[in-house]
């Protein structure tokens, strides 16, 4: 199950906005950029086979 979180990982706006159709459509090409809990911009490193993203408060996620 995907946990949506409070903020959109692609654009950083509240999920409740319901304006994330483009964000979702482009999820396959965009790694997360914003922390879904606090909307801080994350430090993202992309590698040929994956990505990692770090929020200074909420830690690392990987995909």
């Amino acid at each position: 199950m995907t946990v949506l979180g409070v903020y959109c990982e692609t654009c950083g706006k509240p999920q409740a906005d319901n304006e994330h159709a483009v964000c979702r459509a482009r999820q396959e090409i965009n790694p997360p950029r914003y922390c879904r809990e606090c909307r801080r911009r994350m430090v993202v490193q992309i590698t040929p086979t994956g990505w990692s993203a770090r929020c200074s408060v909420h830690g690392d996620i990987e995909g």
Partner: protein, 336 residues
């Protein structure tokens, strides 16, 4: 009958397919203006040209961002420019991360690994990081060929990279000379050209291409193809704009698939002998079907896996596609 009356594909058959010479700017423009009904014929001819002058092999490359974001330049398409409010934050990859990325790339069958940094040009710190990275990749037993893309270079830096064993250097002209100042204001097209000449002179392979869909006219696409043909790069990398949030181009339209295919085929007719690589924007512009059409329309090189700030489709899907298309992957021994 005048030359202008002769069908452009007949001219291309004679000049490009038979003689292996690039199509002129005027004829590239005519190819770019062919109606949709003639697109299959254009793609087929571009494919024949690629098979005749390059062969069936496909070169596979992986790329890695060594230094991401925070670039002082203002290329309007780029999410790594520090001048635009984009979500991309600065990051440096460490040496173990670089070695691992090279390993992952080699495991796909790729023969080329390109180390990229978001900079105007490299400083001492970046060059020493690249040097240490290349040494560590070699020490790990990985024999993949190494390319770099580190912006504009001085002669001294060119010589240093050559001495490190870098065999190809990527530096894109990005767009037609007449359009460049609309896209970038912090440096000139001519400065980029200078770097490319130094690379060639030093005996490294030249990789140069650009991005389609940055507001250029169709005439400027033809102009760009002609300027690339004048340069004569070993590889031409074809990107299609991904409108990046926060950049001046964030609301630009994605290039329609048919226009994109026409552009691929027309660039193949301008550059019959170059590696023509599908690069950024492939997934968004072409999708799965368009990717196959492009592979059968002049493309003979791809980037597998992820890009610098965007994700690609998984490498195994591209490898399965090549198997299905009966296109062998270029092996390392053939490139040495």
């Amino acid at each position: 009958m005048t030359v202008a009356d002769t069908d452009v594909l007949d001219i291309a058959r004679e000049v490009v397919l038979e003689r292996g010479e690039g199509l002129s700017e005027a004829d590239v423009l005519r190819a770019l203006r062919l109606p949709d009904e003639r697109l299959p014929e254009l793609l087929e001819l571009a494919h024949q040209v690629r098979m005749r002058w390059c062969g069936p092999e496909v070169e596979i490359e992986g790329i890695i961002s060594l230094k991401t974001g925070g670039c002082p330049e203002d290329c309007h398409f780029c999410s790594q420019s520090g001048r635009f409010p984009t979500p991309v934050r600065s990051a440096w990859l460490d040496i173990p991360g670089l070695v691992k990325a090279a390993e992952q790339t080699r495991a796909t069958g790729a023969t080329e690994f390109c180390i990229v940094a978001a900079v105007r040009g490299p400083d001492k710190r970046l060059l020493s990081q690249v040097k240490a990275g290349i040494e560590a990749i070699r020490a790990s037993g990985n024999d993949i060929q190494i390319a770099c893309s580190l912006g504009m270079l001085t002669q001294e830096q060119v010589d240093e990279l050559k001495a490190m064993g870098v065999h190809r250097y990527n530096h894109n002209l990005e767009t037609a000379r007449s359009h460049f100042a609309n896209v970038v204001t912090t440096h000139t097209w001519e400065e980029r050209w200078e770097t490319l000449l130094m690379i060639r002179e030093a005996g490294m392979e030249v990789c140069c291409g650009g991005i389609i869909g940055m507001g250029e006219t169709v005439e400027q696409r033809a102009e760009f193809a002609a300027q690339l043909a004048e340069l004569g790069p070993d590889e031409c990398t074809m990107n299609f704009l991904i409108p990046q949030p926060g950049t001046p181009y964030e609301n630009y339209e994605v290039v329609p698939g048919k226009d994109a295919l026409r552009t691929v085929a027309a660039f193949r007719l301008a550059l019959p002998r170059a590696l023509l690589r599908f690069s950024g924007g492939r997934e968004l512009t072409f999708g799965d079907l368009g990717t196959e059409q492009g592979m059968l329309g002049g493309i003979n090189a791809i980037i597998v896996g992820n890009y610098l700030t965007n994700l690609g489709r998984p490498a195994d899907r591209d490898l399965a596609m090549l198997t299905e298309l009966n296109m062998p992957i270029k092996a390392l021994s053939e490139t040495l």
